[in-house]
C-alpha cells in the first residue's frame, strides 16, 4: 500500500513536469567518443588538466567514472598533501580552534580568567596580541572602517612570497579568526585544483552548498571547519539519512539556523526552578524558534513545494527543542537538553509522535523526511541541475528518485543512475552549464597548469566574481543556474582574471608560459581541450595582426572567452 502511494506520487510529479511543454529531445541525441570524454571531465572534475583527456580515453569513460565514485580506490596526489599539511586548524576540534584562534569573546573571557589560556606558546602570544589590540581599539574608538583594495593587494603580494608556516603566523597574529577562514579557503582550493578524487570534491562542494552555513555568523567562525570535515565530507557518497543527521547535530548548523536557542514555548508555564529560569533569561531564550524546522523541510529535504504546511513547521520545531550546543563560542559540542524539550504530542506530515518523548522525537522527524518521496525527488532534481542541465529532463529525475527510494537514500547509487543515463551523455547536457565562479577560477588554473602555493588571492577572485567561499549568507546556498552569475561586473572580473593569471599577476599562482604552443589555434586547443569557436579564434587573430602575439596573452584571451565559460 505504502509503496503504491509513493509510486503514484512520483508519477504525479513526473506528469506535472511533462505537461510543462518543454522540448527535451536534445537529451536523446548522443555524443561522439571525444565529446563523451570531454563532457565527463568537464562535469565531474573542476576542469581538465593537461593529460587528463588521454587518461580518461585510455581507461574508458565508464571505468573512470566508477573509480571516481569510489574515491578511496584512487591514489591521492602528493602535491595536495604537501599543501594541506601546514593548515593546522583543519585537524583541530572546534574547542581547540576556539582556544588557539580565539574570537573576541574568548579573548575577553581569558582576560577575565574565565577561561584558561592556550597551552601552545604561539597561541598564547596571539591572545596577548589580541588583548592589546582590543584595548587599543577601545581607545581609538573604532577608527579605520574604510576598505583599501590597494593595501589588500599589497598584503597578498607579501604573503604570497612568504613560506606557508611563517605566513600563517603572520595572519593568525593579526587576526586569529582570519587564519581559520584562510585554512578553509586554501584547503578547498588546493583540493579542487590538485586532488585526483575530483568527483568527491565536486560532491563536497555540492553538499556543503546544499546544507549551507555562513562562516561570518558569530560562532560559525569557529564551527565551520569541523562542520565540513566531520558532517559533510564523510557522507558525500554515503547515505542521505546519515548526512542529514550529521548536519542536524552539527553545532555549525544548530547555530546558523538558531535551533540551539529554540526551547519549548511551554517553558514559562512549567514549574522549573529559579536558577534554570535565570539561565534561560540570560540566554534570551524566547521560546520556539522555527528557523531550522522551516529550512530543514524547504531546503534540505522536501523542497518548497514538497507538501508541508506551517503547522508541520511548528511541529517539527517542537520535536527539535533541546537539540542545542554547549557554549558555541567556545567550540562546544552538540548536546540534548531534556529540560527545554517540548514533551507534548506532535503530528508531523500526518505521523503521530506520542507525548513524553525526548531526543528521539527529532530522530523520528529525520526518518520521516529522509524517506519522504518529495525528498527523493527534490535531491535528485538538484543533483541533475548541478551535473546535467539547468532544466533536466523529468524522466531522468524520475529514475534517479526511484533509485533514491529503492536504496533508502544511497547517494552513490543515485549518482550512478544519473551517470549511466543517456541524458547525461547527450547534446542537451553537453556544454549546457556556465561555470560557477569557483569552477571558472579553478578550471583556468588547471587548464593552464599553474602552480599554486598561496590560494587566498584565488579566493579573492572568486569573491569578486560574486560567490565568496563559505560566505553565502542565505541558507539557500548558491544557485547552480546559469543566470545567477552572468552579470556585467562578474563577466568583466572573469576576463580580467584570465589575463592576470597567464600574465603571472595573480600572487601565489605561477603559469609557465613556455608550455604554451606558438600559434593561437594550438594554444586554444591546449586550454580548451577542443577546438575554439571560429568567432573566438577570429577575434584573437584580428587583434594579434598588429602585434607580436605572445602565447601567454593568447592563453589569457582564450581563458576569458565565451568558449571557456561553459563546461
Amino acid at each position: 500500500m505504502k509503496k503504491l502511494s509513493i509510486a503514484l506520487m512520483l508519477a504525479a510529479l513526473a506528469g506535472l513536469a511533462a505537461y510543462s511543454g518543454t522540448d527535451y529531445s536534445q537529451f536523446n541525441q548522443p555524443l561522439n567518443k571525444d565529446q563523451e570524454v570531454l563532457h565527463t571531465l568537464n562535469r565531474l572534475t573542476f576542469g581538465p588538466r593537461p593529460g587528463d583527456v588521454e587518461v580518461v580515453r585510455k581507461m574508458g569513460v565508464k571505468k573512470w567514472i566508477d573509480q571516481q565514485l569510489h574515491p578511496e580506490r584512487i591514489v591521492e596526489n602528493p602535491e595536495l598533501a604537501a599543501r594541506l599539511q601546514p593548515l593546522e586548524s583543519l585537524q583541530m576540534k572546534a574547542a581547540e580552534i576556539a582556544t588557539n584562534y580565539p574570537p573576541r569573546v574568548v579573548v575577553q573571557a581569558m582576560s577575565k580568567g574565565l577561561m584558561p589560556l592556550p597551552q601552545d606558546a604561539d597561541a598564547r602570544q596571539r591572545v596577548e596580541l589580541q588583548l592589546q589590540r582590543l584595548k587599543a581599539r577601545q581607545n581609538a574608538n573604532g577608527q579605520g572602517e574604510g576598505r583599501d583594495p590597494l593595501q589588500q593587494a599589497m598584503r597578498q603580494q607579501v604573503l604570497a612570497t612568504t613560506d606557508p608556516v611563517e605566513r600563517r603566523k603572520l595572519v593568525a597574529d593579526k587576526a586569529p579568526q582570519q587564519a581559520v577562514a584562510y585554512d578553509l579557503n586554501e584547503a578547498k582550493l588546493y583540493r579542487a585544483i590538485y586532488s585526483n578524487r575530483q568527483l568527491e570534491e565536486q560532491m563536497a562542494d555540492f553538499w556543503f552548498n546544499h546544507f549551507n552555513v555562513y562562516i561570518d555568523k558569530g560562532a560559525d567562525r569557529i564551527l565551520t571547519s569541523t562542520y565540513e570535515r566531520d558532517a559533510i565530507r564523510p557522507h558525500v557518497f554515503g547515505n542521505f539519512r546519515d548526512l542529514l543527521e550529521a548536519t542536524a547535530q552539527s553545532p555549525a548548523m544548530l547555530f546558523y539556523l538558531d535551533n540551539w536557542e529554540s526551547v519549548s514555548s511551554e517553558l514559562g508555564q512549567r514549574d522549573i526552578n529559579q536558577k534554570a529560569k535565570l539561565r534561560a533569561k540570560a540566554k534570551q531564550a524566547r521560546g520556539l524558534n522555527e528557523n531550522y524546522a522551516r529550512e530543514l523541510m524547504e531546503l534540505h529535504t522536501l523542497g518548497v513545494d514538497g507538501g508541508y504546511t506551517q503547522h508541520d513547521i511548528i511541529e517539527v520545531a517542537r520535536c527539535f527543542t533541546g537539540w542545542t550546543i554547549n557554549q558555541p563560542n567556545r567550540g562546544g559540542e552538540f548536546v540534548y537538553n531534556d529540560r527545554v524539550h517540548d514533551k507534548g504530542e506532535k503530528t508531523v506530515l500526518g505521523v503521530k509522535i506520542p507525548a513524553g518523548g525526548g531526543r528521539e522525537d527529532a530522530e523520528r522527524v529525520l526518518d520521516i523526511l529522509a524517506r519522504h518521496p518529495s525528498t527523493a525527488h527534490f535531491i535528485s532534481t538538484k543533483l541533475a541541475k548541478k551535473f546535467v542541465a539547468d532544466d533536466p529532463p523529468p524522466a531522468l529525475i524520475e529514475r534517479m528518485a526511484k533509485t533514491f527510494h529503492d536504496t533508502d537514500g544511497d547517494i552513490r547509487a543515485v549518482m550512478s543512475t544519473m551517470l549511466d543515463s543517456r541524458e547525461f551523455f547527450s547534446e542537451g547536457a553537453f556544454q549546457a552549464k556556465v561555470k560557477t565562479p569557483l569552477e571558472l577560477i579553478v578550471s583556468a588554473v588547471r587548464a593552464s597548469d599553474a602552480q599554486v602555493d598561496f590560494a587566498i588571492p584565488l579566493a579573492t577572485q572568486i569573491a569578486q566574481l560574486g560567490e565568496p567561499l563559505y560566505r553565502k549568507i542565505e541558507p539557500t546556498g548558491y544557485s547552480s543556474a546559469n543566470s545567477e552569475w552572468v552579470n556585467s561586473a562578474a563577466l568583466l572580473a572573469r576576463m580580467n582574471f584570465a589575463l592576470a593569471l597567464t600574465d603571472n599577476r595573480v600572487p601565489g599562482s605561477k603559469v609557465d608560459a613556455i608550455k604554451f604552443a606558438d600559434n593561437p589555434a594550438a594554444v586554444a586547443r591546449q586550454v580548451l581541450f577542443h577546438e575554439a569557436s571560429p568567432q573566438t579564434l577570429d577575434s584573437i587573430k584580428k587583434a594579434l595582426a598588429q602585434r607580436e602575439p605572445t602565447p601567454a596573452l593568447v592563453a589569457g584571451l582564450v581563458l576569458g572567452s565565451p568558449d571557456f565559460q561553459r563546461r
Partner: protein, 411 residues
C-alpha cells in the same frame, strides 16, 4: 546648464560613432533634455549591524530614555557639542550628525522613528535578508525590492541599477539588469591588450546567454570610459570623507551627474553592532559617534555635491533592527526591534520627524525590552517607489504587503 547637457550628449554619443549608439543611450541622453524629464533616482543606504536608533535621533523629551541609559544617554540640547541637537523640542540629533542639521532645516530631510521590520527576528542575517528582499518572514523570495522597484524596460541603460561593492547585494538582485561596481575607474578590462578582443569575441559569440551579458557589459564599460576619462571634481570643493561610504556616495554622485541612466543605487556601511563600548569617555564621543561622523559627513557631502540635481534624487537609509532600549553591562546595547530611517532629497517633505512615538515605559516596550514598531519599513519604501520613482505596482515590489500606508514623506 543646457550647453553642458549638449556637451555630455555629443561626447557620449561620439564614442559610438554616428548611427551606432545603442537605443538606451540616446534615450537616456535625450530624455535629459526634455523639461523635467530627468529620471528620478533612488539611493538606498544600508547600515549593516543594527544601528542604535535611540542614540541617533534622541528622544530627549522622554524621561524614561535617561533612566534606561544612565551611561549612554545623549544629554538634552544645551547648544554645546556635548548635547543633542534640537529638532522639534522632543527629538534631537546625535551631535556627530551636525552636518545633517542644515539639510533638515532646509525642509529636504525627513526622519521616521520607531520604524522597521515587523518580523521579530533578532538575527542580523535574517533581518537584513528580510529587509532587502522586502518580504519579512519569507525566506524563499529570490530577488530584492530595489530590483523589483524598476519597471521591466527594453533597451534600458546598462547602469540603471548600480550597487557599490564587489557583490550584488540581495536588495539589487533580480530580473532587471543590475551591476556591482567596486570602483568606477576599475570597471574596465585592465589589460588594454585584451579589451577590444574580448568585446569582439562576446559580440560575435553564438552563445546566446554570454552574448547578451557580454554586450551589456561592454556597453556599460564604454559608458564608464566617458566617465573615467576625466578625474571627478565634486562641486564647489565639497570634501567627501575618506571612509568607504564617503567614497561610494561620491561615485554614485559621479554616475548621477554623468546622465548615464542611473535609476537606483545601493551603498552600505558596516560596523554598527555596538554591543560593547558604544560610547567613550562621554556619551557624545566614542565608537557610535565616530561611525555617525562618517555617516553624516558622507550624506551631507553627497547632498551638497549634487546641488540642484537633488531635485531628482531621494536617499533613504535603513538598518536591520534597532537596539535594546536599556543599555547593557558593557556600555553598549544588544539587538532590539524598531529603529530610525532618514530620507532626504528635493522631493522629500522634511523638517519633520514622522511616525507615532510608542514611548519607552516598561509596558510600552516590545517584549519589554525594545522600541515598539509603529511604522512598517515598507510604508516608507513603498511611498518612495510609488511617489518618487513613479512605479505604481507596489504590490509586486512588496508582495504580501499590498497596501502600504503612506506617511506623506514624498510631496
Amino acid at each position: 546648464m543646457s550647453t553642458r547637457r549638449l556637451f555630455l550628449k555629443s561626447s557620449a554619443l561620439g564614442m559610438f560613432g554616428v548611427g551606432t549608439a545603442p537605443a538606451w543611450l540616446s534615450r537616456a541622453l535625450y530624455a535629459a533634455d526634455g523639461p523635467g524629464a530627468h529620471k528620478k533616482i533612488l539611493v538606498a543606504i544600508f547600515q549593516r549591524g543594527a544601528v542604535d536608533g535611540l542614540n541617533v535621533v534622541v528622544p530627549f523629551g522622554e524621561k524614561q530614555y535617561y533612566s534606561l541609559r544612565p551611561n549612554l544617554a545623549i544629554p538634552k540640547p544645551d547648544r554645546t557639542e556635548n548635547s543633542a541637537i534640537d529638532l522639534d523640542g522632543f527629538f534631537g540629533l546625535h551631535p556627530a550628525l551636525a552636518p545633517l542639521k542644515p539639510i533638515y532645516d532646509s525642509g529636504h530631510m525627513a526622519i521616521v522613528h520607531a520604524v522597521g521590520s515587523p518580523d521579530p527576528t533578532r538575527s542580523h542575517f535574517d533581518a537584513q535578508d528580510y529587509m532587502e528582499s522586502g518580504t519579512p518572514g519569507r525566506k524563499a523570495t529570490s530577488d530584492g525590492w530595489l530590483n523589483r522597484a524598476l519597471r521591466i524596460q527594453k533597451d534600458a541603460s546598462p547602469v540603471r541599477a548600480v550597487s557599490l561593492g564587489t557583490a550584488l547585494p540581495r536588495a539589487m538582485r533580480g530580473q532587471n539588469e543590475a551591476v556591482a561596481i567596486a570602483n568606477l575607474n576599475d570597471f574596465q578590462i585592465r589589460d588594454t591588450r585584451g579589451a577590444g578582443t574580448f568585446e569582439s569575441m562576446y559580440e560575435s559569440s553564438l552563445d546566446q546567454v554570454l552574448n547578451g551579458a557580454g554586450r551589456e557589459t561592454f556597453e556599460a564599460v564604454k559608458l564608464m570610459q566617458s566617465i573615467q576619462k576625466q578625474p571627478y571634481a565634486p562641486r564647489n570643493g565639497v570634501q567627501y570623507p575618506n571612509s568607504s561610504l564617503g567614497q561610494d556616495l561620491m561615485q554614485i554622485a559621479r554616475l548621477i551627474k554623468s546622465n548615464v541612466g542611473l535609476e537606483v543605487a545601493f551603498a552600505e556601511m558596516r560596523g554598527w553592532d555596538t554591543h560593547v563600548n558604544e560610547v567613550g569617555a562621554r556619551p557624545t564621543v566614542g565608537q557610535l559617534a565616530n561611525l555617525l561622523g562618517q555617516f553624516g559627513g558622507a550624506l551631507a557631502a553627497f547632498y551638497q555635491d549634487l546641488g540642484d540635481r537633488m531635485a531628482d534624487v531621494s536617499v533613504i537609509t535603513m538598518s536591520e533592527f534597532g537596539r535594546t532600549a536599556r543599555e547593557n553591562g558593557s556600555r553598549g546595547t544588544d539587538h532590539g526591534h524598531a529603529n530610525v530611517m532618514f530620507a532626504f532629497g528635493g522631493g522629500i517633505r522634511g523638517a519633520k520627524v514622522y511616525g507615532q512615538w510608542p514611548g519607552l515605559e516598561q509596558e510600552q516596550l516590545y517584549e519589554q525590552r525594545d522600541l515598539q514598531l509603529t511604522t512598517d519599513f515598507r510604508d516608507v519604501l513603498g511611498e518612495l517607489v510609488v511617489r518618487h520613482l513613479g512605479n505604481a505596482q507596489v504590490a509586486s515590489v512588496f508582495p504580501g504587503y499590498e497596501q502600504p500606508k503612506f506617511r506623506g514623506i514624498v510631496g
